[in-house]
């Protein structure tokens, strides 16, 4: 597993300017590029769309990181940019005819009465919509824990949050998502 520099060091290097900025930016993409990619692709369900959105996200990161004050963790800040960019993109790209769409990110297991009549596509869409209703920090925790399957210790470093707080945050996120999905299924 690649050892990446700490976020604070990356941001500090970026703010030095000149070649340091580009070096730091490369470190950011190397460290978070794949996570942001999967976050976006889970929603756009297509590589080309994901590529476009991710490029826009990274441009915004490059343009605005010098003004980043560290009020939130670096990943949380980028998660917010990626989420906004993805939703904006989806608003503009309503038509998807002729585009290859990824397989659903969720597969339904047998045994849950509410899910018996559901398709994988439908439940995947509901999950995506449910995550987007979560507060930013909670959504970021859910992204890293559920989709990225990171350990709490790793998430703790990325989000500058204690593991106990992360467990509580993830638990609440799951509850909200379950309520959202079941509420949608029952209507």
């Amino acid at each position: 597993m690649t050892k990446h520099p700490e976020d604070d060091d990356i941001v500090h290097l970026f703010k030095k300017g000149g070649n340091h900025t580009n070096t730091a930016f490369n470190q950011i993409v190397a460290k978070y590029g794949d996570i942001l990619y999967r976050q976006i692709r889970a929603i756009t369900k297509n590589h080309e769309f994901t590529n476009d959105v991710l490029q826009n996200v990274l441009v915004k990161v490059y343009q605005n990181l010098a003004k980043f004050k560290g009020d939130s963790a670096l990943y949380t800040w980028m998660y917010r940019i990626a989420r906004n960019e993805t939703l904006n993109f989806l608003d503009k790209e309503k038509r998807r005819t002729g585009i290859d769409i990824d397989e659903p990110i969720l597969e339904i297991m047998l045994g849950h009465s509410s899910l018996d009549s559901m398709t994988s596509e439908k439940i995947s869409d509901l999950l995506t919509r449910a995550v987007n209703t979560l507060p930013e920090k909670q959504a970021a925790v859910f992204q890293l824990k559920y989709f990225e399957e990171l350990k709490y210790s790793e998430i703790s470093k990325k989000l500058n949050t204690s593991e106990g707080a992360l467990k509580a945050s993830f638990h609440h996120a799951k509850q909200k998502i379950e309520v959202f999905i079941l509420d949608q299924l029952n209507h």
Binding site: V29, N51, E103, S113, F147, E178
Partner: protein, 165 residues
């Protein structure tokens, strides 16, 4: 209510295809390339040239308007130049002038007077340089004259009497 707690246990997360590291390296390079400012030397910027030209024009205008006495003095100084010198200069540089430029320099009310005026006395331009221009045919060999007429394809019968003299 029990079902709500177990929902995630009935969902299996699929794998999202993710490009390899080279894709992300290239993506970072593309973004950096699109954001890097192209440094253009100041003297190569068109706006600098335009600004300089505009500034030069403004300075010329201001100088011309702010120093009318100097212009007047310069024109008055022309009066001190002897006519012969002026005519000699014009004769020497006549090829440099064109009719339009000359006509612009002459006030329209004076054009008719110029056309009607008599030749200036001793004007080296209007006065024929009889001594200098007269050719002494006595020193030219007859054969040379005939060769010249042949080379120029001049028909001797086309020449009038005056020219032959």
């Amino acid at each position: 209510m029990e079902e709500q707690k177990d929902l995630f246990d009935h969902l299996k997360l699929g794998k999202i295809d993710t490009p390899d590291a080279t894709y992300f390296d290239q993506l970072a390079k593309n973004v950096i390339a699109s954001q890097e400012v192209k440094v253009i030397p100041l003297y190569k910027k068109p706006i600098v040239w335009l600004s300089s030209a505009a500034a030069a024009i403004v300075i010329l205008v201001v100088v011309n308007y702010s120093a009318p006495e100097e212009s007047t003095d310069a024109l008055l100084a022309l009066n001190d130049i002897p006519t012969e010198d002026v005519l000699a200069y014009v004769d020497k540089h006549i090829e440099d002038f064109d009719v339009e430029m000359l006509s612009e320099m002459v006030p329209s009310e004076n054009i008719e007077a110029i056309q009607l005026s008599e030749p200036i006395e001793n004007n080296p331009i209007t006065t024929p340089k009889t001594e200098e221009t007269k050719i002494n045919f006595d020193n030219i060999d007859t054969e040379d004259i005939l060769d010249y007429i042949n080379s120029e394809e001049i028909d001797i019968y086309d020449l009038d009497e005056f020219e032959l003299l």
